[in-house]
Homo-oligomer: 345 residues x 2
């Protein structure tokens, strides 16, 4: 049985009901809503409308780094520490390289063990499936689900340090970049673009040989990166941790808190959230435009418009640029009714 | 001095004046207008508007094939034969693989020699330069210039048999695909997608060894290609030529004329021109949308709209899908004034 054949059998969820259950903190509703986001389900627009007002309440912390640096352990001890001070925590583990969700796989089960019975923790893996615009576009919506569920803090964990990961952690208010001693490639990867997004550096496995060198390398890189930066800039701190023994966690949370304070003091939190929303709206618009043009020949309304415009071009009544402009106007116009049908909560 | 620095110095042509001169058959005006098309000059929209009514008068014959099969020689003898019966001829030599125009290079000069003093022939090379959407998008406009100049027949010659070439010859009413004996890769290339676009096959250099085998291979391929085709289909003929000695040219023109008659008889000419215009409008719309979104952050009007929409998303007043739809509507709306300013002749 193919995907296409299965599609009609898929249950259509009542989005408002699920959102209502998620707001009451029901983990199952939260998991289902994130699945809808991940799948790029038809309910996604209704979900976005329902979740709009849940935007921006949680503190969002991004955690990224090369494989093997200890991201999962670090996230684990951060969750424990945040729970200890009564915070509700969401964890969104995003794997841009995998087409499969870890949602029902080993990853979550292992992570779950410690926090499985804790109703104050939501843990969910997410991979790219059907979401238009990929994970970078899906992550903010998944975040809003966790926001709606009442998470005080959401940790967005993503593996690797490529552009896809940078895009994913771009949703964070504070981005923590992890390194480990003796991983030369880790430093290389950091050089390749993560420096700009790092608000806090963590040298994990700080008990290992070479950690001093890693810290020195980082300090040098930060000093290079700082050149040419005008105005009051955030001085990216380097925190040493041994996540497996929960060492340095208080210092890490302290650095994150300090960064948050700095952002508030410099209007940077609002500026970041504004830039983030701009990028999100732009990315969705681009994805929609691409899909619309791709769907053109399947959509009888727009295709009719295209046929009519082309006919006038053939007859010499209209030039192709005007025809294209009218087609674009048609696309813009036809995109509105589809959204007006979506009820706000 | 960089391109950017040079740009303001570039002369802004009076498009209507140039079009008027082109309509009087001035080769220089024709050449300048095709340069504007090739460059994707700002005057292109005005040009398209001015040329709209010149669409579809010329017979358009596409000539393609692998390097070395004798396209230029074939085009040369076709021009001579068409001139002999009093037809005005345009030749558009398109090289999708080259970023440089052959307009002022050797190619044209060599071609020109025979027809240089003939005011009934326009020859022009074209390569991809600044045109949004590439050569496939530029070719139809260049064609309209030659149409306006009063060409009875336009030969569009393109080298190679890849997708880019298929896209270029897609402007033709009749597409002639050339092969030569002993070029196994020629047949391979034909297999790779040109079969569908070929209306007439030419086995050039038919005096060489292996030409019978090439004809047999082609016949076999055509028989395979025909399988599953329903309705009254065109039976792609195979013409043998020796272009360097002008042998088989009458037969080739006969096959082209027969194809034209078949198209008219089956409503296929109108259907093709309609499909072509649809593809052209769609391609320009897509290129414009991409450019618009790329320009978003440089265009203060649209960027202001994006900022405003993003602000409402941050405040939870609007969901990202609605914001994206409004942005798309904004793009569609803002594309009209830019075109309304362009005067029609």
């Amino acid at each position: 049985m193919t995907q296409r054949e299965l599609a009609p059998l898929r249950r259509r969820y009542d989005v408002d009901e699920l959102v209502s259950h998620a707001r009451q903190g029901q983990a199952r509703a939260v998991a289902r809503l994130i699945s809808l986001v991940e799948d790029g389900a038809p309910e996604l627009r209704a979900l976005a409308a329902a979740l709009a007002r849940d935007t921006g309440r949680a503190d969002v912390i991004g955690v990224t780094g090369a494989p093997g640096v200890g991201k999962s352990s670090t996230v684990g001890v951060l969750v424990t520490a945040l729970r200890a001070v009564g915070k509700t925590v969401g964890v969104l583990a995003v794997d841009p390289s995998s087409p499969f969700s870890g949602g029902a796989l080993l990853g979550d089960r292992v992570r779950m063990q410690e926090h499985a019975t804790d109703s104050g923790v939501f843990i969910r893996s997410m991979a790219t499936r059907g979401h238009l615009g990929g994970l970078a576009a899906a992550t903010p919506q998944a975040l809003r689900v966790l926001d709606a569920a009442g998470c005080d803090v959401v940790l967005v964990e993503t593996v690797g340090v490529g552009q896809a990961e940078v895009d994913v952690v771009a949703v964070a208010d504070t981005t923590v970049v992890l390194l480990a001693p003796g991983m030369g490639d880790g430093i290389q990867a950091v050089k390749a673009g993560i420096l700009e997004v790092a608000d806090v550096f963590v040298v994990n496995k700080a008990d290992r040989e070479g950690s001093d060198q890693t810290v020195r390398d980082l300090k040098y890189m930060i000093s290079l990166g700082r050149r040419g930066v005008a105005g009051p800039s955030w001085r990216t701190p380097i925190v040493r941790t041994v996540a497996t023994r929960a060492e340095g966690v208080a210092e890490l949370l302290g650095a994150i808190k300090e960064h948050r304070g700095w952002m508030r003091g410099h209007g940077e939190l609002e500026a970041r959230r504004q830039r983030r929303a701009e990028a999100e709206v732009e990315a969705i618009a681009l994805a929609q435009l691409r899909a619309k043009l791709g769907d053109l020949r399947r959509d009888s309304n727009t295709f009719g418009a295209l046929q009519g415009l082309a006919k006038r071009v053939v007859l010499g009544e209209l030039d192709v640029y005007r025809a294209a402009a009218e087609l674009i106007a048609e696309l813009g116009g036809s995109s509105r009714p589809a959204n007006q049908g979506v009820g706000r909560p």
